[in-house]
Amino acid sequence: MEKNIVLETRELTKRYDGNTVVDHLNLQVAEKEVFGLLGPNGAGKTTTILMLLGLTEPASGSAQVFGFDSTREPLKVKRLTGYLPERLGFYDGLTARENLRFIAWLNNMSGGEANQQIDQVLEAVGLTKVADTAVGKFSRGMKQRLGIADVLVKKPRLAILDEPTAGLDPEGINQILDLIVSLPKMDTTVVMCSHRLYEVQRICHSIAILARGKLVVEGALDTLGREALAGGRYRIEVETAEASPQLVEIIGRIKGVNKVEAEGNFLHITTDSDLRAAISKAVVDNGVALIQMKVHEFSLDDIYKRYFQEEGELKQ
């Protein structure tokens, strides 16, 4: 399936006072996916976002959003894009509803349309009860929710969220993550930055990891771990009633199996492809009871650590 690319950067570079903050970055985000942008603090994530929105000019290279150049046609980009800044602020004297209405007006929405849309997004982020309270009295988490509402009120086709779950309680995090996951169904592509890897793993389809302005790795989450950590191979864990050396040998002879290691009743098998069917057949045919079997999933944690271990070694 050929996917539409909604966001693309080509050799995007930014320098501040001689320091290269973003270094020849090439990114692609496909339509209707949730894309995670990861990296340690100061990796250039926020700067990249600012360039995507045309708020900062790149030193060289270009960024395109929905085919519009971010530097030359920022207004067209901003009309289609909602942005949740990392350090978000509201007018404390105005109520939640008034804050959102201001944004709706800036997006040329008519009064009736704006009111309807505001009610909808406040409902979606769970702020309906405090819609008419001054934002100055909001807690950090409530402001964060209002920030999400603020992005959604303009019905963006691309939502760029910088730390969308910062300051939220666990329940709030789940609620917001569910909301973010539901966005692609409503025709909105999501790009999010986060330091909470399990969140990214839970909701993102693809990720890119940046370090010191450079792209370290980019790809779909389900294949990335395998490629990054196991050289593109599968690791299958099998628990049997009794792992005899004979069984190890038989499994080792299955085509595609690279390595079999026995550890108590567990077998760790490395294969080129998903050979679970063949392996389970071999186990059962040998008259050994099969207790459980699973393909080892690589967590984002592993991937992230692996890249930054290298990074750390390089620094030393």
């Binding site: 501040y16 600012l50 067209k76 901003k78 942005y83 800044p85 350090r87 201001f102 603020d150």
Partner: protein
């Protein structure tokens, strides 16, 4: 941009800051009225302009309304503009607004215009309140010429206020810290209001010409001269006269056209100063980068 003006106006009118200013301005007009009440009986009304005497007559110990206004207008201008831009940055609302589909300059234009509208409403209120109560007090209606003179005075107030607001906005663009930008504006105001004309210029100027030239670099002097020419029609010229010359002057008022001609340079200079302040803040603001921090 209309949306931004609308929001800024709503902000101003609901803010406590604006309430305080309004109370101050009303107190000043009450004081000015009282000064007129005390002073108008002894005032020289041989010129035939009675009504505008209301604004320039001073009491025994209370200065006239125009004195109050020339002190208050800079304060109002500064109070409306000193945090216009840097507050948006410090609360984090700037990046949110700028990520909306609007031109960047409409933010600063909208703030400036909203400030001018607020200032104009305040000063129009003051002048109208004083006119209304004054009318009850002295019972002499204004002539058409007096109304026009008052209106031109009002316009010069707005221009004068716009200068101070432009200056305050300039500081709010350059200086990130709210308190420092307020202090910087107040420092400039104090400098021109007190030190410049009272200490520095008399010390530096050797001749009357250089004295006048230097003194007119101060927007306060320009405004005071404009006030004098508009509200004291008998003023023949602005500046100093040799005592010999004064004895040859006829004590009759100048016609409106001549008074206008007299203040034309002052008015245009004030417009120019206000425009320069705004233009510099506009340029600096447009070139400021939104940075990731």
């Amino acid at each position: 941009m209309i949306t931004i003006i609308r929001k800024e106006l709503a902000d101003y009118f609901t803010s406590i800051r604006c309430l305080i200013l309004f109370v101050l301005v009303l107190l000043a007009s009450a004081a000015g009225l009282y000064a007129a009440y005390q002073g108008i009986r002894g005032a020289d009304i041989s010129t035939g302009f009675v009504f505008i005497k209301l604004f320039t007559a001073s009491g025994e110990s209370i200065p006239s309304l125009v004195t109050f206004i020339s002190i208050f207008v800079p304060i109002i201008g500064i109070a409306l503009g000193f945090d216009a831009i840097n507050r948006e940055y410090s609360t984090g609302t700037m990046s949110r607004i700028l990520s909306q589909p609007i031109y960047r300059d409409s933010v600063i234009n909208g703030k400036f215009l909203a400030g001018i509208i607020t200032l104009a409403i305040m000063m129009a209120t003051t002048l109208l309140v004083v006119s209304g109560y004054g009318l009850r007090m002295i019972g002499v209606p204004p002539s058409a010429e007096e109304i026009i003179r008052l209106f031109i005075y009002f316009v010069s107030i707005v221009i004068f206020g716009a200068f101070w607001m432009g200056l305050a906005i300039l500081f709010s663009v350059i200086i990130k810290n709210l308190a420092v930008s307020l202090l910087a504006s107040i420092a400039v105001w104090l400098f021109f209001g007190f030190f410049y004309t009272m200490l520095i210029v008399p010390a530096v100027a050797k001749t009357v010409e250089t004295y006048l030239m230097l003194v007119r670099l101060s927007p306060n002097t320009l405004f005071d001269e404009a006030t004098m020419a508009m509200l004291l029609p008998q003023s023949r010229g602005l500046g100093l006269f040799a005592s010999g010359d004064v004895s040859y002057m006829l004590p009759n008022p100048l016609p409106l056209g001549q008074s206008l001609l007299l203040v034309w340079p002052q008015l245009t200079t004030m417009i120019g100063l206000a425009a320069v302040c705004f233009a510099v803040s506009y340029i600096v603001f447009m070139r400021q980068e939104i940075r990731a921090t």
